[in-house]
């Protein structure tokens, strides 16, 4: 680690996010108690866990939205050593349901992502505009440029939120429930897009997700959070086990092997005696 770098120089390193013994207390309620997390550069890590486990809080701490003290290090530099504008060029956050300002066009919305490059009280340069046009082209949003954000569908909006984050030019992307408002087709579309961008541009992705199967399909590693602690971490097939999920989600699930990772199938309680499920038997009618 090169933690002794002067503020302002974010040195290249293989570790994008390093969280050591993070404690967060909000309104005197402990939310995170001693969380450790390491995300390698270029990796996709998804944080899972039951409601209230502290997933969003963890993301907010990594994104600099909460004072995290010395516990969070981004690309080798302690986050508190970064000035807000520097931090904004390193890490971009897409919140769970970002506000949709009335009357704002897609172009204007994505242009606001260039804020960390615009001098305080300054205005966008031609280069900022060019960067935004490139991002819009890459996300197939060209045709939506002058559309009002509020008139777009959920899937299109999610692409615009992503575009805003990409316009920020950060290598670390934090996605808080990026697909919670989308139908299953748009979920896949958005996540495939994120994965493609990650591969093409060497982005690092730290996300939270509720859908466990989808979380396992896209992430390199999963981190299971429960009551403010990391209770399991590793490749999807090590974390998505019936035993761990039953213990921490109090859920009755079957885990079946899938093409891209284990698939988690909720099973109604009381049906435990039914025939064992396998990949081909998911849709089989009971007979």
């Amino acid at each position: 680690m090169t933690g002794r770098e002067p503020a302002g120089a974010v040195s290249p390193t293989a570790v994008a996010v390093e969280v050591r013994d993070l404690h967060v207390t909000l309104d005197r309620v402990p939310i995170l108690t001693g969380v450790d997390l390491t995300v390698a550069a270029g990796e996709w890590v998804t944080v899972i866990g039951p409601n209230g486990a502290g997933k969003s809080t963890l993301l907010r701490a990594v994104g600099g939205l909460l004072p995290a003290g010395p516990a969070v290090t981004l690309f080798g530099t302690p986050i508190r050593a970064l000035k807000p504008r520097q931090r904004a060029r390193v890490v971009a956050t897409v919140a769970q349901s970002p506000a949709v300002p009335a009357g704002m066009s897609v172009l204007d919305y994505v242009l606001l992502g260039r804020t960390p490059y615009i001098a305080p009280l300054g205005r966008e340069s031609a280069a900022d505009l060019g960067a935004v046009h490139d991002v819009l082209a890459r996300l197939d949003l060209d045709a939506f440029r002058s559309r009002e954000l509020a008139t777009l569908s959920g899937g299109e909006r999610q692409r615009v939120f992503l575009a805003r984050a990409l316009a920020q030019g950060a290598t670390l992307l934090l996605l808080d429930e990026p697909t919670s408002a989308l139908d299953i087709g748009h979920q896949q579309e958005v996540l495939e897009l994120v994965d493609q961008l990650r591969r093409e541009h060497g982005l690092t992705v730290l996300a939270t997700m509720h859908d466990l199967s989808i979380a396992g399909e896209y992430a390199d590693r999963l981190v299971l959070l429960d009551a403010g602690r990391v209770v399991a971490a590793g490749p999807p097939d090590e974390v998505l086990t019936e035993e761990l999920l039953a213990r921490h989600y109090r859920a009755n699930v079957r885990v079946v092997p899938g093409e891209h990772g284990p698939l988690v199938v909720p099973v109604r309680r009381g049906w435990k005696q039914g025939p064992p499920l396998n990949a081909s038997g998911i849709g089989r009618a009971p007979c």
Binding site: A88, M104, G122, G130
Partner: protein
């Protein structure tokens, strides 16, 4: 995997590549139509400044103040100025008035055909009144626009946030405590200062009370808080006036304002407050756009939303206090003008704020003309006229607010 983290601070003006940091530099930068066709397009490498616009919607321009709107705003100010000076108990020809106004510029000597007494009416009576109307209207509209952005609330208005009531109470206290305050012949410094402290205190009370509802509060919560704060402060003021009946006359005249008797000294008193408020608010016009994304988004974009918010509240309250000091309590300007601008010219604060300043000034100067000519020779208090216009307008906002501010 090659990962190049984001570049550190670049000097302003240095050429920027639009490529997001961390893009592995592979192959020559591709530009042109071929690149865009590539899935996941390698267009990232093309030079941003030179990149020719392409594709549908390429004509879309980023939000900004269009020249024609700026010209329209300045024209409105000039029309209001000439109308404000030429209309009155003795109507003067607008053309002569315009010529006489030009004569005020150093080095201009034109013959307007007005007599010496008419010239005195123009420069000593009507012009200061029209200019004060412009300044007060500009301040109220600017403050309203700023409050709406800061609170992300379409209904925010200096009047509805309790600012006016706070200023009223504080001024009453100041007058009661210092009975010898000269409120008529030029304001002492105490009264505008009291008005500022009072309006700032009232906004903060309203904000804290409205914020008690938590993050999911509706726009109406803040307005309800403003109503409660206004009622509370007005009660305090009534009690004070009751206990000190001798101050009712000066306090009441002060609250009604002195637009009718405005002289150049009033303009000189308001001008510095106007300058500070206008500079602070207008410099933050882009930040207000970022703030409209939400506090978390603004923070993650490298801003200090809370810091900007307090600065803007202070500036808007200072402007409101100065306006109230000069012209009494005038409601609804801060809501009528920014909303009309928003509907006509665009919702970006980079458009709303400068245009609100221009059109707000023109609006109040013209309203003042109505106030003094509609029931001539009597004058209708200008606050009554704006309230008559503003009441129905407010209902309109309430009905469309859901559409404009989802």
């Amino acid at each position: 995997m090659t990962v190049r983290p984001t570049e550190p601070d670049r000097p302003a003006g240095a050429s920027r590549t639009p490529r997001p940091a961390g893009v592995p530099v592979t192959g020559p930068p591709a530009a042109g139509p071929g690149a865009a066709a590539q899935p996941g397009g390698a267009t990232a490498g093309s030079g941003g400044a030179e990149r020719p616009p392409a594709g549908p919607g390429a004509t879309a321009r980023p939000a900004g103040l269009r020249l024609r709107w700026l010209v329209a705003g300045i024209a409105a100010v000039l029309v209001a100025l000439v109308a404000g000076v030429s209309l009155g108990p003795v109507s003067l020809p607008a053309g002569s008035v315009a010529v006489e106004l030009l004569n005020l510029f150093p080095g201009v000597h034109l013959d307007s055909g007005l007599s010496a007494s008419e010239i005195a009416i123009v420069t000593e009576l009507r012009l200061p009144r029209a200019v004060l109307g412009l300044l007060v209207g500009a301040l109220l509209a600017l403050a309203g626009g700023a409050y709406q952005g800061v609170f992300r609330n379409p209904l925010a208005d200096p009047y509805l946030l309790g600012v006016a009531a706070g200023a009223g109470l504080a001024v009453t206290v100041a007058i009661v405590l210092g009975a010898n305050v000269e409120v008529f012949t030029g304001m002492s410094l105490t009264v505008p200062l009291a008005a500022f402290v009072g309006s700032l205190g009232a906004v903060l009370m309203t904000y804290l009370l409205g914020a008690a509802g938590g993050r999911d509060r509706s726009p109406a919560t803040l307005i309800l808080a403003g109503v409660a704060v206004s009622a509370f402060l007005a009660a305090g003021q009534t009690y004070l006036l009751q206990r000190h009946a001798d101050t009712i006359q000066p306090v009441y005249s002060w609250l009604l304002g002195r637009l009718a008797t405005a002289g150049w000294e009033d303009v000189r008193l308001v001008l510095p407050y106007f300058a500070v408020t206008a500079v602070v608010v207008l410099l933050h016009r882009r930040e207000l756009d970022v703030l409209s994304l939400g506090d978390d988004e603004a923070t993650s974009l490298g801003l200090h939303p809370q810091r900007s918010r307090y600065l803007l509240i202070a500036a808007a309250s200072l402007g409101t206090a100065a306006a109230v000091s000069a012209s009494g309590l005038i409601g609804f300007v801060g809501i009528i003008v920014p909303h009309t601008v928003r509907m006509l010219a665009g919702s970006s604060y980079r458009v709303v704020l400068p245009l609100s300043m221009l059109f707000g000034g023109a609006f109040l100067a013209l309203t003042d003309v109505v106030a003094r000519t509609a029931a001539a020779p009597q004058e209708i208090p200008i606050g009554v006229v704006t309230a008559l216009l503003g009441g129905p307008f407010f209902v309109l906002i309430l009905r469309t607010a859901r559409r404009v501010f989802p």
